[in-house]
């Protein structure tokens, strides 16, 4: 058995839970398959996810259901303008019995965190969360506490009602592995949602896999083969966002202020492996890159004023890049 065949068999074996998990979540959540897959990719790649969608698209319910399915701890934090860093990471409180300060851990000490409307909190709160996301540890007083794995932050942003918000700076947005746009459900999905949610008993998902088992699959994901041709493809895409003219995309030159950072290459690499894993494949194909590309790039490409004036979105820019760059 060749190495490739071995990886393939391992992937096929270890990825069996994926369909079960998605089906189980699907018992509660109607549609939103793309969002579910991306959350799973985030869990498999130690990445965090930024969700953008209008209220009422089952973002909270999705993450809660995921937690139920992987037996993980879930916490929702509603970000408000009066929130303090200590409200997230925790603080030291005085114990009258012992006369000492004892740490009171904040809600961040959970596996899956839903940072709801992250742009409503001031910059110091945002940076406290983003620092914890990056370091995967929190310091309270003199003690540093490691955050328990799996640790996934699912931050949401509301594209409407921008008044009184604190938009995330580009440097902080870049820390999110993927930015997912949550669309409205389709007609038949909407009907299904209506029927499910108006029953006396709201459906509930059963556990499919433990958090520990999920962590083990990360090792398998890391073994997934990425051909040099695919690596070149990733690099070409990222470089095309920085120097579009060199890749025959002269029309994009004035539209992009800043191209994707090296984090884009890293996360495209990781996310495409996880995507291949979800497809039970031991190797990455250009299709994986194409599928995950928009989610990994849309928040990393900073558009110019010219693009904004022409109402060109970063999604359109990413699409043009993918259309132009030759698939290996």
């Amino acid at each position: 058995m060749s190495e490739m065949e071995r990886i393939q068999s391992v992937v096929e074996k270890e990825s069996q839970f994926v369909d079960k998990l998605l089906n189980e979540v699907g018992k509660v959540i109607v549609g939103q398959r793309r969002m579910l897959e991306r959350i799973l990719i985030g869990l498999l790649c130690k990445g965090h996810i930024l969700l953008e969608g209008v209220p009422g698209l089952a973002k909270t319910m999705t993450i809660k259901t995921f937690c139920d399915c992987i037996r993980a701890k879930f916490q929702r934090i509603q970000f408000t303008p009066d929130l303090l860093p200590a409200d997230i990471i925790g603080t030291l409180i005085y114990d009258q019995k012992t006369g000492n300060f004892i740490p009171k851990k904040g809600p961040i000490f959970h596996n899956l965190i839903l940072a709801d409307e992250i742009n409503r909190a001031p910059a110091k709160v945002q940076s406290a969360l983003l620092e914890a996301m990056q370091e995967r540890q929190v310091t309270i007083g003199d003690n540093t506490y490691h955050l328990e794995e799996p640790f996934l932050v699912l931050a949401t942003q509301n594209p409407i009602e921008q008044e009184g918000t604190y938009p995330l700076p580009e440097a902080q947005v870049d820390r999110f592995m993927l930015k997912i746009l949550v669309p409205y459900p389709k007609k038949d999905e909407e009907r299904e949602i209506m029927e499910r949610m108006t029953k006396v008993e709201i459906p509930k998902a059963d556990p499919v896999i433990s958090a520990e088992e999920l962590l083990k699959t990360r090792e398998v994901v890391n073994q997934i083969y990425l051909d040099p041709k695919i690596k070149d493809y990733i690099i070409n895409i990222v470089f095309a966002s920085r120097n579009p003219a060199e890749y025959g995309l002269k029309d994009l030159e004035g539209l992009i202020s800043w191209g994707a950072s090296p984090r884009a290459s890293i996360y495209l690499n990781l996310a495409s492996r996880a995507h291949a894993f979800l497809r039970h494949r031991g190797y990455v194909t250009p299709e994986d890159i194409k599928s995950i590309g928009p989610d990994a790039l849309r928040h990393r490409i900073l558009l110019s004023y010219e693009a904004e004036a022409e109402e060109i979105t970063s999604d359109e820019v990413v699409k043009r890049i993918f259309d132009k760059i030759e698939v290996p």
Binding site: M4, Y283, V284, T285, E287
Partner: protein
Amino acid sequence: MRFRTWLLVLALISIPGRAQQQLPVPDLHLPQPSPPAPAPGQTPAQPAASAPPPANMPGVKISAKIEPFKVHQGEVFDYLVELSWEKSKESCELEFKLPVIPTGEKIKAVGSEFESENLAKAETENVRRIYRFKYFPMAEGKQSLAQADFEYRCRGTETYYQVSAPPFPVEVLKKKIHLKDIVRSRHFRIFLLVALLAGVVSSAILLIRSRRKKAELAPAPVEKTPEENALLLLTNADQYRIAGRYPDYFLGLEQALRKYLEEKYQIRWSGRERLVDEVSKATAPDLASELDYFLKFSDRVKFAGAEPASSELDRCYQAVRRVIEFKKMEIAGGMK
């Protein structure tokens, strides 16, 4: 000799219909001493008509002409008046007053010259005084130069005598168009530009027409069908299979299929699932499932370094070929 020429000129201008310029026969005041015309602001000369001229005063002849013969608006012309007399040993020396420049209504005087010429003979001497007045005609049409009066006297005497050229009719012709004026004019430049553009356009039209004609005459290239193109690419890809370069071989198969689907069904090569779905709609579901197998296997060969067995190679080749030849089979076998 010169006198003869003058006479000839006078004769010519006096013949009606011969020349365009209708000149009257000059009513010359031959040595009929007349009282001098008082010049404005000048003390009038003593009336000469009352006193007979001295015996030794030579008779003065007068003649006039314009140069050039045809006068055009905007072009300076000369009005020449010649006074001549024969001077002998006995005759007195003549003195002339400065003449008043004859004026015209729409003719502007721009200058005057004077020259004198003496031609000695055996006993006598012919003297000529030529007054050259320069004019600028401002408008076309029939104009007239006023009477030209010349006053003279014997040196040492008081009395002036007058000789006059009658009013001289001048027909000012239309302004002559000069090439340099045309070239300098704005209209000419616009015309030139338009002509140039017209030339370019017409030559382009001619070129296109000639090319079309050539194309019509040339035998039309035989356009290959999408099936033929795709099969040709399949044949070309076979060299890689023989050489054992399987990733390139599968790339060749994909290219053949990609070209065929685009040409035949306008299906764009997108993601595998979407492509299979579109092919399924365009052809038949069983073909689509075979295509799905081929695409998955092709990815394995290209990106996972899988070594295909000969049976797998055949299956993939047949999958592509069946999609390409689908229509033919449908017609031949009445499928679908």
